[in-house]
């Protein structure tokens, strides 16, 4: 049984804006929730490398290729910041990866969709990274020190991702009719998954009160989603692309866009593992881990041999 006084002191600290650090006392539920969220976030970063990595060898120019390589490398870096921040909660990276490979841990639903054309790379940077930024700027204000610091770093880097994606879409939209159609097609396929990746609607999202009080969650999914839509719709208008939602309209009285119904059945199916690419993504991660094992072993053996020689 956790001491009520400890919990009160912990909550008072958070309420006054003090960050919780790894060795500070924290309720078990806080630790567990953070491990779940942060590892899910870390997994999303490295699984997210797969759909984009798919286009590195086929990028349309050297400029685009260099940019895409740098972006995918950033995602690997984000994964590392996040695994390292998660490890401060007393869990090992080996265990975290095992949870990913066995399907015990989840990653963002969005990465289970395929990247069919080059325009998908534009749509991902613009929409997926755009949505992620909305979520991550909120999380940067969270109460757990290592997570919040990782978020600050990541947000700085995401802004390049977001802009390069929009630039790809803009060039395609200004190109030949075929190029514009390709951009529109990518937007049609990625819009709804991007909206959904911000998580279930507030009425379906349990535990939110406590998580908000503990500043593990900073804003509700619906609030973040609304901000994403409000900012993105004018960006689409500007480059002459239309959003695949016939109910989307600006509400003068609230100053926000209202949107059509979200297909949550699709979202939950993808989360459950039945999206178009779930099996493929997991296999790619798990193969990379298995095939890389001898490299890790050999590098460690080599370092030990060098140490012995030096002694």
């Amino acid at each position: 049984m956790e001491d009520q006084k400890q919990i009160e002191a912990f909550e008072a600290k958070i309420a006054s804006g003090v960050k919780i650090e790894p060795k500070d006392w924290m309720p078990e539920a806080y630790r567990k929730q953070l491990i779940r969220m942060m590892s899910q976030h870390a997994h999303s970063e490295i699984v997210g490398m797969l759909p984009e990595g798919n286009w590195i060898t086929r990028a349309p120019s050297l400029r685009r290729k260099a940019i895409l390589l740098a972006k995918v490398q950033d995602e690997a870096g984000h994964g590392l910041y996040l695994y390292s921040a998660t490890e401060t909660l007393g869990i090992d990276r080996t265990e975290l990866l095992e949870q990913l490979h066995t399907g015990k841990a989840k990653y963002s639903s969005i990465f289970n969709y395929p990247t069919l054309t080059w325009a998908d790379i534009g749509a991902i940077g613009w929409l997926v990274d755009g949505a992620a930024i909305m979520n991550q700027t909120a999380l940067a204000r969270g109460s757990y020190g290592p997570y919040s610091r990782a978020m600050v770093r990541i947000c700085k880097e995401e802004s390049f991702h977001n802009r390069q994606g929009y630039e790809i879409m803009m060039h395609l939209a200004q190109g030949t009719p075929e190029q514009k159609a390709m951009a529109q097609d990518a937007l049609n396929r990625w819009w709804w998954p991007a909206i959904m990746m911000l998580g279930p609607s507030d009425d379906q999202s349990p535990n939110s009160d406590q998580l908000m009080r503990w500043k593990v969650k900073m804003e509700s999914n619906d609030a973040i989603r609304q901000r994403f839509i409000d900012r993105t719709v004018p960006q689409a208008d500007f480059i002459g692309l239309s959003l695949p939602d016939k109910d989307l309209k600006f509400d003068e009285t609230t100053g926000h866009y209202t949107h059509g119904p979200i297909n949550w059945d699709e979202f939950f199916e993808v989360i459950k593992g039945n999206g178009p690419c779930n099996a493929k993504r997991l296999k790619a991660r798990s193969d990379a881990d298995k095939k890389g094992r001898w490299v890790r072993d050999a590098a460690l053996a080599y370092a030990e041999k060098k140490k012995l020689k030096a002694a």
């Binding site: 650090e21 060795k23 500070d24 006392w25 740098a70 490398q73 950033d74 870096g77 590392l80 910041y81 390292s84 921040a85 490890e87 090992d92 990276r93 080996t94 990866l97 610091r149 990782a150 880097e157 094992r293 890790r296 072993d297 590098a299 460690l300 080599y302 370092a303 060098k306 140490k307």
Partner: protein, 96 residues
């Protein structure tokens, strides 16, 4: 077969500009110091964030414990005379 290794953890400190202290930025996994420095460069300085990197084996760092924070740092609380504001100097006295 031995247990899968993610390699030992190294804490990373980066100096952003000449003349200022190295600051802790996070950690990396690496087999030895040389690899830790290379990994730290790739993970923490992709956008010219630093001019110098230190890496330290994580298990070589000892830290004060947060539970003792109060009593541990308390001795400095009752020594206000260590601060210049403790001393009253008449107005008009300059350069002091």
């Amino acid at each position: 077969m031995s247990q899968d290794s993610q390699w030992p953890v190294w804490e990373v400190f980066v100096q952003a500009n000449p003349g200022i202290p190295h600051k802790h930025v996070g950690n990396v996994h690496a087999t030895d110091a040389e690899m830790a420095i290379q990994n730290a460069r790739d993970v923490y300085t992709r956008r010219s964030e630093g001019i110098s990197i230190w890496v330290v084996p994580a298990n070589a760092i000892s830290a004060s414990s947060p539970e003792d924070q109060g009593s541990f740092f308390e001795p400095s609380n009752d020594k206000p005379y260590r601060h210049p504001t403790f001393y009253k100097i008449p107005e008009g006295v300059k350069y002091l």
